[in-house]
């Protein structure tokens, strides 16, 4: 069992291992970076650090939502890189047994499926485990 931070994007609930999460931040706006991929909401400053933010709605191919106070930036660390995941809301931390992860069935969230590498049930609810390296475009950094 290990702790996971869970968050919602669209109609599904996702999870990311708490060990990868640096902090949760409320979201107002990000500085648009011209020339960056469309799924990059922009740059924010979190505790003195410049953090690029990936809009998961855009990344998962979902329609944009109105500005909402519930939106959060889940700041994650992947190797030496730090990035923010912009989500609809993030409230809970749950214990999930890694052993209970299954390969995601093809039908779920077809757009997001490429960014999900497992499905687990905990407290009788279904969580999709997100693939952080893919979301933050780890392939971009190998492209040089």
């Amino acid at each position: 069992m290990s702790l996971h931070v869970t968050f919602r994007v669209g109609n599904a609930t996702y999870a990311v291992p708490a060990a990868q999460v640096l902090h949760l931040e409320s979201y107002d706006t990000a500085t648009h970076v011209p020339g960056a991929p469309a799924y990059v909401a922009g740059l924010v400053q979190v505790r003195g650090r410049l953090v690029p933010v990936v809009d998961l709605r855009v990344r998962f191919g979902l329609p944009a939502i109105e500005h909402s106070l519930d939106r959060r930036v889940v700041v994650v660390q992947n190797g030496t890189r730090v990035a923010g995941l912009l989500v609809d809301s993030a409230r809970e931390v749950v214990q999930i047994d890694e052993a209970a992860y299954q390969k995601p069935p093809d039908i779920i969230e077809e757009q997001a499926s490429g960014f999900v590498n497992g499905v687990a049930t905990a407290a009788k609810r279904l969580f999709l485990l997100v693939d952080v390296p893919r979301i933050i475009g780890e392939e971009l950094s190998h492209g040089e």
Binding site: V33, P34, L50, A83, G143
Partner: protein
């Protein structure tokens, strides 16, 4: 005067020197103060202080700042009296001297800012004049022997006597300068430096040499030195026969009062000579910045060379030999850059020097007993970082003494040592950052009290720090007195996080103490920029990149709009400027953020020798900012050189217009 003197440069030199001297003065006063606490006297520090003030007075005279001269003079008189009486200062005299040095410091700063300097405070001058310098009039010190007795001041004799009693031999060395010696690099300056390294020079007396017929035949120096070094070593320094170097026999046990008048301590001309031997040079930061700008320009031209080389290579030209040279040059540039960075580094210990004085004065006014402990070893920091960091450290240390450390009685009652400790330690991190920890063993910060006062829930130290650093989270009322901290924490955070791009953390435990941890970069890139708006987004560009800024009128020729954004981004208009037609690129379109706003201004850059104008909405201002790299692959984009914080806590992009101009070039090609 017939010629105009560049007063500004002159004043700059004065300020630099005066600040240096004031630091020395403060260090001397602290040394004297510590000695008094231990029941000792420090004749040498009193004498150094006297000379320092005399030099300040002289400098102030050169730039004509009367109030500084007056203050320095009054203090000088006080110290001369003290010196004559054997070099002991009373506590009250130290206090008054500190005030006077502070008053001088304030006036130096005003001079630096080009503002009018107020007269010396009459009350302070009166106080100085009324101060009884010495606590006791020491009996005239014992005789040393030889001619020295008549040539030394009382305090100098006192010092020689005390040191000889401690077993340090005193020597009279004679150095005779000659052309031959000068040719071998041995001069009075090198002798001074050499002797100062192995002992303490009490006096250097130049004397005229007479030949057999009594005529003047050159000059020699007699040097009174206290040193434990062997005679042979001393002889080597002064280039003399070791047999002639013998210690002088000072009568150790005598304390006979001498009735003869002691010569006055004269501000010594030698003080100026001694400066020649120093192995350091003071350089104004502006000049270093200039050097760095030049280096940056060189790096840019190297890239251009590299690009040309690649183009030649693509055309089938054999460029292997040339490439070897450019590779070598790249390494040399990197080394040069590193060397320049090293020049900018200052020792952290030196940066923290003023804090000892601060702790002392705050402890006094708040009736605390506090010791400042520094554990900074030989860490170094970019001068630009250090200058920005110091105000934050001052806030933290002042708060620690003023609010965190308990009054002595309370500490004793609580089972703590009577004297509180404020400790500053630092470590260099692998991430090219310096971690500074400012800790105290005071009362700790009461999280609940802060929560009640701020009406916010505080669950951890991070949240506590956020509340404390809220601008306007005020202090100085009863609640904060008990909650412990808060003065100016917004300033500390602004410096650490916004100005320096660092981090700030807090750890506190009730009754045990508080530690603030600051992580700051060892060096920062500070750039002067223009800020402006384009399509309602703010950007900045380095001032150095801009040739000209002008308002756009109607006199431009717009090409027809293209059907796609991509094609629009490559559109180039023409604008009339001083008889030339300049290519005008819409920055909004180039960045693909075009919302159809009518551009009112243009920024002109020189791009491969040609002028190009970028159309923007409006100018916002000009300021110095810290540029941080934007290097995550997610946000790495053409024309984005980095990001900065203009003070709103949000990143603002730094644009590289040269790179954006490149796109224009491709259009024509």
């Amino acid at each position: 005067m017939s010629e105009r003197v560049d007063l500004k440069e002159f004043i700059g030199g004065f300020v630099v020197e005066a600040e240096d001297l004031l630091a020395t003065a403060n260090a001397c006063l602290l040394e004297i103060d510590t000695a008094i606490s231990d029941g000792k006297s420090k004749p040498k520090a009193v004498r150094d202080l006297f000379r320092t003030l005399h030099t300040i007075k002289g400098l102030a005279g050169m730039v004509g700042v009367e109030p500084i001269m007056e203050l320095a003079h009054a203090l000088e008189t006080l110290l001369r009296t003290a010196d004559r009486a054997g070099g002991a200062l009373q506590r009250g005299a130290v206090e008054v001297s500190l005030q006077a040095v502070r008053a001088i410091g304030e006036r130096v700063r005003l001079v630096a800012e080009g503002r009018p300097v107020p007269a010396a405070p009459a009350r302070l001058i009166e106080q100085i004049n009324a101060t009884d310098a010495s606590s006791q009039t020491i009996e005239a010190p014992p005789e040393i022997g030889g001619e020295w007795d008549a040539r030394l001041s009382a305090s100098e004799r006192q010092q020689v006597f005390l040191d000889v009693q401690r077993g340090v031999p005193a020597w009279t060395l004679v150095f005779v300068p000659s052309e031959d010696r000068a040719a071998r690099g041995i001069t009075i300056a090198t002798v001074r430096t050499g002797l100062a390294a192995i002992g303490e020079i009490i006096k250097v007396a130049p004397r005229t040499q007479l030949d057999a017929s009594g005529k003047q035949a050159g000059i020699k120096f007699e040097i009174l030195l206290l040193s434990t070094a062997p005679a042979a070593r001393l002889a080597e320094v002064i280039d003399a026969d070791p047999a002639t170097v013998v210690p002088i026999a000072v009568p150790v046990a005598t304390a006979a009062a001498s009735a003869e008048p002691v010569p006055e301590l004269e501000p010594e001309r030698e003080a100026d000579i001694s400066r020649i031997g120093r192995a350091t040079v003071r350089v104004e930061l502006d000049r270093l910045d200039e050097l760095q700008d030049q280096l940056a320009a060189m790096i840019v031209s190297r890239f251009r060379l590299e690009r040309e080389l690649a183009a030649q290579h693509a055309r089938g030209v054999d460029v292997r030999k040339l490439r070897e040279v450019t590779d070598l040059q790249a390494r040399q540039l990197r080394d040069l850059r590193r060397a320049i960075l090293r020049v900018r580094m200052v020792r952290v210990a030196e940066v923290l020097e003023p804090l000892a004085l601060l702790v002392r004065s705050v402890a006094r006014t708040s009736h605390k007993e506090v010791r400042l402990e520094l554990d900074v070893r030989d860490a170094e920091l970019d001068k630009a970082v250090a200058d920005r960091l110091l105000p934050a450290l001052i806030h933290l240390v002042r708060n620690a003494v003023d609010h965190a450390i308990e009054p002595p009685d309370l500490r004793v009652a609580g089972g703590k040592p009577r004297v509180g400790t404020v400790r500053i330690a630092c470590t260099e991190l692998a991430s090219k950052q310096l971690e500074l920890m400012i800790s105290d063993d005071g009362r700790g910060i009461d999280r609940d009290a802060v929560a009640r006062r701020s009406h916010r829930e505080i669950l951890d130290n991070q949240q506590l720090l956020e509340v404390l650093a809220t601008p306007g989270f005020s202090t100085r009322d009863a609640v904060t007195q008990t909650s412990g901290r808060g003065v100016g924490m917004d300033i500390v955070k602004r410096v650490a996080v916004q100005e320096l791009g660092g981090e700030l953390a807090l750890d506190t435990q009730i009754g045990v103490g508080t530690t603030f941890t600051l992580k700051v970069p060892l060096t920062i890139a500070i750039v002067e920029v223009f800020s402006f708006e384009c399509e309602r987004q703010s950007f900045v560009v380095p001032v150095a990149a801009i040739e000209e800024i002008f308002e756009l009128g109607d006199d431009r020729i717009e090409p027809p709009a293209r059907p796609t954004a991509e094609a629009n981004a490559k559109r180039v208009a023409l604008v009339h400027r001083r008889g030339h037609a300049l290519p005008l690129i819409s920055l909004g379109a180039r960045l693909a953020i075009d919302k159809g706003t009518v551009a009112k201004n243009a920024l002109v850059i020189r791009h491969n020798g040609e002028l190009i104008a970028f159309a923007i909405d409006r100018m916002l201002g000009r300021q110095e900012v810290v540029v941080r790299p934007v290097d995550d692959p997610l946000v790495r984009a053409r024309g984005i050189a980095g990001a900065t914080d203009l003070g709103d806590g949000r990143p603002t992009l730094v644009l590289d217009l040269m790179e954006l101009g490149d796109l224009g070039e491709r259009v024509g090609a």
